[in-house]
């Protein structure tokens, strides 16, 4: 998941830090990936897929991300670029605040990274049967999305936003925010994990050469 907090709610130091860290990692990623034109086009295609998935309204404040799948397909550095581009374009459509593009890039990249490394571990160590790699992808996605939900809650908690006085009261009730986030994020993670596993199973059946 990514942060659906509007502009002007999170403290400036937090979103500026988000931008600074994202810029630093992006700089490293751009140097690391070099000039692989084929992979650049492929990354754009995966980013567009993520955009399509994130733009499908489900009627609840949750949407499919496909970030873990993007991590599995693209690897750590290309997936960071895809996450940044996706969050930037989404923000330009008003989906997610402009100020939190940096933080959202880091959160979604965390999902992609977790998805990528967990998938590798599950595929090589836990599930060695090649036929069951979609299960590894599903489990990796579920863990990655669950962890990122807690990361979002952690970020909001770390911002100290709960103690900012406003109109004689407090800015936000962290408990309510946590309950609301988990209510949508945890079942959402299960659904996305199942969908990711099915997608990989389908691709393995139709075009097995794509993922080996």
């Amino acid at each position: 998941m990514h942060i659906h907090i509007p502009d002007g709610v999170l403290p400036i130091w937090l979103w500026v830090l988000g931008y600074a860290l994202a810029a630093l990692f992006l700089l490293f990623a751009v140097i690391k990936v070099g000039k692989d034109t084929r992979k650049a086009v492929w990354t754009a295609a995966v980013a567009a897929m993520m955009l399509v998935a994130m733009s499908i309204p489900l009627g609840v404040p949750y949407h499919i991300n496909l970030t873990a799948l993007a991590g599995i397909i693209l690897g750590p550095w290309w997936s960071l670029i895809a996450c940044f581009v996706v969050n930037g374009i989404l923000a330009s459509f008003g989906h997610g605040g402009v100020t939190i593009v940096g933080l959202n890039t880091l959160v979604t990249w965390f999902e992609a990274l977790a998805g990528f490394y967990l998938y590798r571990v599950f595929k090589k160590v836990v599930i060695k049967d090649k036929e069951k790699t979609p299960v590894a992808a599903g489990v990796s996605t579920w863990i990655a999305l669950t962890l990122s939900a807690f990361l979002v809650i952690g970020l909001v908690a770390a911002s100290g936003i709960e103690s900012i006085p406003f109109h004689g009261g407090k800015n936000i009730n962290l408990n309510t925010f946590t309950i609301l986030t988990l209510t949508f994020a945890l079942p959402g993670a299960v659904v996305e994990a199942v969908i990711t596993a099915f997608i990989l199973a389908y691709i393995r059946k139709v075009r097995p050469e794509l993922f080996g």
Partner: protein, 227 residues
Amino acid sequence: MHNASVITKFLVTAALILLVITTNSVLALLAYFALILLYVTFSKLPLVRILRWALYPAFFATFFALSQIQYSLILPVITVLKAVDAALIMLLFINTTPYPQVFSILSRVSKTLGNIAFLTYRFFFIFIEQADKRFTTLKVRGGLAGGLKRTIRNISHFIGSLFITFIDISQDTYYAMRVRGYNGIISCRPGGWMRVNIHDFTPVSMFLCFLIIAIFYWLHGGSGVFP
């Protein structure tokens, strides 16, 4: 607004968003909202469609606003208004600026980032069209009926088949681009759209209107004139 230079529009957009996020008054945010709608209309953009797009961030902002409702009834309204105002400002910028110009700004920072952003944007609309066609086929053939398990399986196969179509499209695009001399650089030549011109008065006037409201709010915010 369409003919103003992209640099002015970009800077004004950043300044307007900054003003929106530092304002904590319902009245001031409503005044911003009215002003943006005025400029959207003035720029001959489809008002209803723009408002419909702005509903999406409003919907997601309510998710966060709900966690504020215990402390204040005004605060959730401010949260939603900030989200809508910021989204409308971005939509005004994006809809009055050709996207190669938008991404050319990013290309100045990094060619790789600019290229991928440009291609992503291109692919997005191609993919949306494909997804729409295939989803209609899925629905017509009863793919969304027959229980949750079957629906999830069908939707996954739908996304999987889309995925393969997208791979094919991106590969075809890559080969077509290579044939036309693509070597990792999509250039967008700086033209008149980069230069400050007389049309820049429109975004600048918008910024000045926002600034007047903001100054009025800063001066009278504590006295109850701008609750």
